[in-house]
């Protein structure tokens, strides 16, 4: 397994991303990953806050139309996340912080999928929100906070990526 990861890490693409001076390499991947994070966590958090009772004038059925943009952020981060993993695969694959992050993301996305089913209910705005829904929403927020924290801490694990991009 480690051999495969090392092979990934030493591949031409991974080496280019990691060591190129171009702003389009590592710096851009990081930038896009940050934007994706803002999209997915931000929109998800707002939906959750609405479910928890904030900004009650906003109809939930309306917020549903913003979900494609949330998913766009998620997919952007899946792609950029894979790149970020590959360029440092041998370190990340054995890092508990990495798996913690993946777990939180899986849980948060799990909640989003459940919410997707709820959003299909045409009577959504006519009924008060069940306690189950509120607990899920609260859990979702916690999971994103956990994912962002673990993601940030990943930068402090191992030798990491030493990039001189942009000089």
């Amino acid at each position: 397994m480690m051999d495969f990861l090392a092979w990934l890490e030493q591949s031409g693409f991974a080496t280019w991303v990691r060591e190129s001076n171009s702003l389009l390499a590592y710096p851009s991947v990081l930038f896009l990953h940050t934007v994706g994070m803002g999209c997915v966590a931000g929109i998800s958090a707002l939906v959750d806050l609405r479910i928890l009772g904030c900004a009650s004038e906003v109809p939930l059925t309306g917020l549903r139309k913003t979900l494609p943009y949330m998913w766009a952020g998620f997919w952007l981060n899946t792609v950029t996340g894979i790149v970020l993993f590959i360029i440092d695969a041998t370190t990340k694959a054995v890092s508990p912080v990495f798996y913690t992050k993946m777990t939180f993301i899986a849980m948060a996305i799990g909640v989003c999928l459940v919410q997707r089913g709820v959003f299909r209910d045409p009577l959504l705005d006519k009924r008060p929100i069940e306690m189950k829904g509120k607990i899920l929403a609260f859990t979702s927020i916690l999971c994103w906070v956990g994912a962002i924290t673990a993601g940030r801490l990943l930068a402090y694990v191992g030798p990491g990526v030493v990039s001189s991009g942009g000089r």
Partner: protein
């Protein structure tokens, strides 16, 4: 690992405080404005 836990705990505390402040300010607007979609 200890660093990770130290950071995580404090992140939770700060987020909780900020979240509660935001929630209170938000809900206080309900009494004034009309509720509902």
């Amino acid at each position: 690992m200890q660093l990770a836990i130290a950071v995580a705990v404090r992140v939770l505390v700060v987020t909780a405080i900020v979240g509660v402040i935001g929630y209170i300010i938000d809900r206080s607007q309900d009494r004034r404005n009309n509720k509902g979609p």
